[in-house]
Amino acid sequence: MNEIARRKMFGLFLVLPAFLFVFLVLFLPAANTIIKSFTEFSPMNLQQNDFVGLKNYQKIFGNEEFMDSFFNTLHFAGVSVFFELILGLVLALILNKALAFRGVIRTAILFPWVLPTALNAIIWRWLFNTDFGFFNSFMKSFGLISRNINWLGEVSLAMNSMIWVAVWKTSSFIALILLTGLQSINDELYEAASIDGASGFQKIKSITLPLLIPSILLALLFRSMDALRSFELPFALTQGGPGGATQTLSLFGYRQFFQFLKFDQGAAVSVVQFLFILVLGLIYIRVLKGERDT
């Protein structure tokens, strides 16, 4: 064995524990989930493990609740990520500029993101409470409303309330990613633009945004993947109610697994969700790569 091969072997040996760990807790369960989604499997009967083809998939696609959850998830992810991006961009521009109290402002903006989602949702549940929540009493005291608004109890409002909580919490995460992008833009570009007499808006439009696109795509990738598997927020805020209006795919899958103990159909839900997020991720990465190459 020559020196290089020996060093390679030693390197592989050092990587082995980490690889084993990832293999055991990540790949194995994931592969198991995919296999189980094609079998009839329930914890009630461990011996029964028959291959049933696409039966579990037929069952979940035939379930009205699954389709509703699917579209709820798309609605939630699409709208919340859109507003998070806009708000995140504004925050990032402020963070990039703010000179006085820079540390204080940065901490303040990051604060919502640091709060655990479940805790966050419980706080908002009280704020949204129809009869003694903050929003209604605040708006009532200023005469803005005469009747209490049922934030989390009305089908048309509940999803918007949930999106609002998500935007409040995660805009700062997007801001953080965009901020690193902003700081990598060379100041000379702005100086040159100023000399040419460009206005502030023109500078944002022609310098900041084009150079920020890779960061924006990266933020979108992270956030949309995250939003598409949102679980804690609906779980703690609304439990998927009212009438299933805020039930996401993850929450639906959780019910199949842990409440109804239908591990096979729960596995099928997870696989569908996984494939969907995978395809979306691949598209983003492709676009991102295209951006980099040009």
């Binding site: 609740e65 209490n148 009305e154 089908v155 439990q239 998927g240 009438g243 299933g244």
Partner: protein, 429 residues
């Protein structure tokens, strides 16, 4: 390096083999037997040490190990299901929620107790609670304690307008409309309960349905929710929000604690929730302290014989894989005896599910509200979990979903019940 790895592997194998051997040896040897009891500290924690001490004093050859399982029922369920799937011999005795026995019986996770308890022993427990553990004449557990959903009303407001306590839903709606109109207080609601899409919603719905003369399963054992009684129950709930305006629309987001908070603030005339709110309503700083009366849940006109108090509680079951079944059954007998019941009631406020407790002077003097609680239990029933077996969680989910759809006016009550019937038939076919 290789040698090191080998040593680690070998020693870990050795340790596990030794453990297994040790466990077997313990089982075979004579002397005191140790049994494990799975119960959380959440509700009975204050009474348990004394009960276990008295058991060990009376049975010197049995030691009890208390496995303090998590307090959240869902977590306990996961824990027990995992143990039973692995055919673990522990815990020997499990405290299970009143809606689980159906699932446990269907999967063979609960040992019939008829071998250890005579029929007259079993008749000593509250009938409603025994319904949840009895299947084909066999008893698969006995109740440890019970609680229920009761009716709470503001006596001061009823007295102010010379009204009697409403016995029926019709009277309740009428009184609620009358009082809220006279009081002219926009913050005062007629009726409040827990109508979020949760188990409590299904329980409150069952109370309406039973009160209309309905039963969830017909005499042949098939679900029957597409009936005039079941639809009438749901229609009344919908009308209470939109037609009579006695329940606020926010009731659709309310869990028991939310309802309790509103009622405690003096902002509701009537409330239907679990009995655990009673101490909170009567705390020194409670605005409604001394103004609240607890009673049985109303029924519909002409159905005064209906059981309308939906009961919950905890059951002790015997693990079929246990290696010490006789000793474990002894522990169950001890914990569910009248003497232990008094300790449970006075120390922890959990009402033992034994008949005759309503006349037990020792319990009543230490915990006066117990008298009312037992009066209500006598017109109580349990959720249809024994018949539904392992499908109960999904059955409850279907009902919650359809009831909520009607309450949100996404469907008519008749349509919701027709859809529920269809889904239940498919589930239980």
């Amino acid at each position: 390096m290789k040698r090191l790895l080998l040593i680690v592997l070998m020693s870990s194998t050795l340790v596990s083999v030794l453990f297994a051997a040790g466990a077997q040896e313990e089982a075979a040897s004579e002397g005191p037997v140790t049994i494990q009891l799975g119960i959380s500290t959440r509700e009975v924690g204050a009474a348990m040490p004394e009960l276990l001490k008295s058991f060990e004093a009376a049975n010197p050859n049995i030691k009890v190990e208390w496995n303090k399982v998590p307090g959240v029922p869902n977590d306990q369920h996961t824990l027990y299901v995992t143990n039973m799937m692995a055919q673990s011999e522990q815990p020997d005795v499990m405290a299970v929620d009143v809606v689980w026995p159906g699932e446990f019986i269907a999967n063979g996770w609960a040992e019939p107790l008829n071998e250890y308890f005579s029929d007259s022993d079993l008749e000593g427990y509250l009938d409603g609670m025994m319904n949840s553990v009895t299947l084909d004449g066999k008893a698969y557990g006995v109740p440890l304690y019970t609680n229920a959903i009761h009716f709470f009303y503001r006596k001061d407001l009823l007295d102010k307008y010379g009204l009697e306590k409403p016995d029926t839903w019709e009277e309740l709606i009428e009184s609620a409309m009358f009082i809220t109109e006279k009081e002219q207080n926009p913050d005062l609601n007629g009726y409040i309960s827990m109508w979020a899409q949760i188990e409590g919603l299904f329980m409150n719905y069952l109370q309406f349905m039973w009160g209309a003369g309905g039963q969830f399963f017909d005499t042949k054992g098939n679900p029957s929710v597409n009936t005039p009684e079941a639809v009438k129950a749901l229609e009344t709930m919908v009308d209470m929000i939109y037609k009579y305006n006695v329940a606020p629309e926010s009731i659709l987001t309310y869990k028991p604690n939310d309802a309790m908070a509103l009622f405690r603030q003096g902002r509701a005339v009537f409330m239907v929730v679990q009995d655990f709110v009673w101490p909170m309503l009567n705390e020194a700083d409670s605005p409604v302290k001394g103004k609240v009366v607890m009673d049985r849940v109303p029924y519909f006109e002409g159905h005064s014989d209906a059981n309308t108090v939906c009961m919950g509680g905890w059951i002790l079951t015997l693990n079929p894989y246990s290696e010490h079944k006789a000793e474990a059954a002894e522990l169950i007998r001890h914990l569910t005896s009248t003497e232990s019941g008094i300790v449970l009631g006075t120390k922890s406020g959990c009402m033992p599910a034994v008949k005759g407790m309503e006349e037990n002077a020792e319990l009543i003097s230490a915990y006066p509200i117990a008298e009312t609680l037992y009066k209500d239990f006598s017109v109580g029933d349990v959720r249809p979990s024994a018949q539904a077996g392992k499908n109960y969680p999904e059955l409850s989910h279907i009902m919650q979903k359809e009831i909520h759809a009607a309450l949100l006016q996404k469907k008519s009550p008749a349509q919701a019940m027709a859809d529920a019937q269809k889904a239940l038939d498919e589930l239980l076919q």
